[in-house]
């Protein structure tokens, strides 16, 4: 069953077509790897999908519902999408604990002050922070965390939001081997619990290990899709994206 359908999506920044007639389908309860060289348009597609950028042309359907995001910032919450960013967007002046608590609130300013005290929210925060090994840092200011820990905190917020669609923009960037293992297991858990996961990632080992299929973008266009092991061994993909082995050059 199709969870997200993208049809002829186009986005132009200045005179450059950053996304150019991009069409793709993302199926329910799968992990899709979204790969391509830097600047190929992957993050822009995700920004269009989540309403961070406005669509110039084309359609996006989520669970067969047409998303009209000509205006900025569609209500992701109602579409049940959560996402992370390449550069983690967390609240530096809040504690680790508060950073997760805040995403559990309904989107009303006044009630949010009281909702943080709800027992459900507190136990949910503890559960996700323990999962990502940040419970010991719960009182630390988010701004004092290392880059990898900030990525993990943003990841924890997605876990806490418990949405049907989870989108991760380079979740493994800047993570050490042990943390990569934890994150990859959590992503597999998301799939096992029925979620649809989109992974923008440059770590090909993780893509091959986790993704059911991959979409490859280059210069704003979809250039390949299919099983990771098959697509990522193609010579044209190796040429533009993976490059030669370091010792070959």
């Amino acid at each position: 069953m199709t969870m997200i359908k993208i049809h002829n999506l186009r986005k132009r920044f200045g005179r450059a077509d950053v996304v150019n007639n991009f069409s793709a389908e993302i199926f329910k309860n799968t992990i899709v790897g979204f790969v391509g060289p830097n600047g190929s348009g992957k993050s822009t597609v995700i920004n269009l999908l989540t309403g961070v950028e406005t669509i110039d042309h084309g359609d996006i359907y989520i669970s067969d519902i047409l998303v009209k995001n000509k205006k900025k910032l569609i209500n992701n919450y109602s579409f049940n999408i959560s996402r992370t960013y390449q550069d983690p967007r967390i609240f530096d002046q809040m504690s680790v604990l508060e950073n997760v608590l805040i995403v559990l609130n309904k989107r009303k300013v006044l009630s949010s002050f009281f909702e943080t005290k709800k027992p459900f929210n507190s136990s949910k925060v503890e559960e996700v922070l323990r999962k990502v090994d940040l419970w010991g840092k719960r009182s630390a200011l988010a701004g004092d965390l290392s880059y990898g820990q900030r990525k993990i905190l943003e990841f924890a917020r997605v876990l806490a939001m418990d949405t049907r669609i989870c989108i991760f923009d380079e979740p493994f960037a800047g993570l050490f081997a042990e943390m990569k293992l934890i994150v990859s297991e959590l992503i597999l858990d998301l799939k096992a619990s029925g979620k649809t996961v989109v992974l923008i990632e440059h770590d090909m080992d993780q893509i091959v290990k986790l993704a059911d299929y991959v979409l490859v973008m280059n210069a704003g266009k979809l250039i390949a899709k299919g099983k990771p092991s098959k697509i990522l061994s193609r010579n044209d993909i190796l040429d533009i994206y993976i490059g030669k082995d370091l010792h070959e050059k």
Binding site: G36, S146, L246
Partner: protein, 237 residues
């Protein structure tokens, strides 16, 4: 290593407020050597680089260059032959590539010398020549990382402190960046102290490193031995 050591950290401790970020860290980088900083997230790798560059005050211990102790002051570091390239391609996005390179030479008084250095650095990074008038914020991630590296070379450093040079870069571009680091090291005899997680690529650059955990150096020496002990530790856990 002690005989031709360029940079020495001797029992350096540094704090973030009341939190002990580095705990008696000792390490050495030799002349023309590439040394690596490894360790879990939050172990203090970036903090080591920031402390050496004077962005975090030292509580105790000493840092020396060519055996002579000095107190790091960040804006004086380029004059002391140090360069720091921070995580995440920290270039000035609103300035052109050329202006970014000029800023790299702020410690050089003569404009002619800055221009000469830019032209020498462009010999190493020919891909930047056609991008000189373009705003740096419009460059791709790989180009921005090349620009950050090129800028660090303008003041002719003896050692470059490099934090996660391949962060967010596609595999092909990451390999190109590592080739460039190797080229700079071999041709210009510049030393590097590099913090990164990309273990496969790091072993291409160097075989010697330091493994940090909770602000302490817990393993050092040959990479194979570090990996061996590290994985043993993981299994023991």
């Amino acid at each position: 290593m002690k005989n031709n050591s360029l940079l020495n950290l001797d029992n350096v401790t540094a704090n973030y407020g009341s939190f002990k970020a580095l705990d008696r860290v000792s390490l050495t980088v030799g002349e023309g050597e590439i040394a690596l900083l490894l360790g879990p997230n939050g172990s203090g790798k970036s903090t080591v680089l920031k402390t050496i560059f004077g962005l975090l005050p030292i509580v105790s211990g000493k840092i020396s260059l060519h055996g002579l102790p000095f107190k790091p002051v960040s804006f004086e570091m380029p004059m002391n032959s140090f360069a720091l390239v921070l995580q995440g391609q920290k270039i000035f996005p609103g300035l052109s590539t050329h202006e970014n390179l000029e800023i790299g030479g702020f410690s050089i008084k003569s404009k002619e010398l800055v221009d000469k250095r830019i032209s020498e650095v462009l010999d190493i990074f020919p891909m930047l020549i056609k991008l000189m008038e373009i705003k740096a914020g419009l460059l791709s991630g790989g180009e921005q990382q090349m620009l950050a590296l090129a800028r660090s070379l303008i003041a002719n450093p003896k050692i470059i402190l490099l934090d996660e040079p391949t962060l967010g870069l596609s595999p092909k571009i990451a390999k190109e960046v590592f080739h460039k680091i190797k080229e700079i090291n071999e041709l210009n005899k510049v030393s590097f102290l590099i913090a990164d997680h990309n273990l496969n690529l790091l072993s291409f650059l160097s075989r010697r490193g330091y493994y940090l955990e909770s602000g302490k150096v817990t393993l050092c020496g040959n990479l194979d031995k570090i990996f061996e002990k590290h994985f043993l530790k993981m299994i023991m856990k």
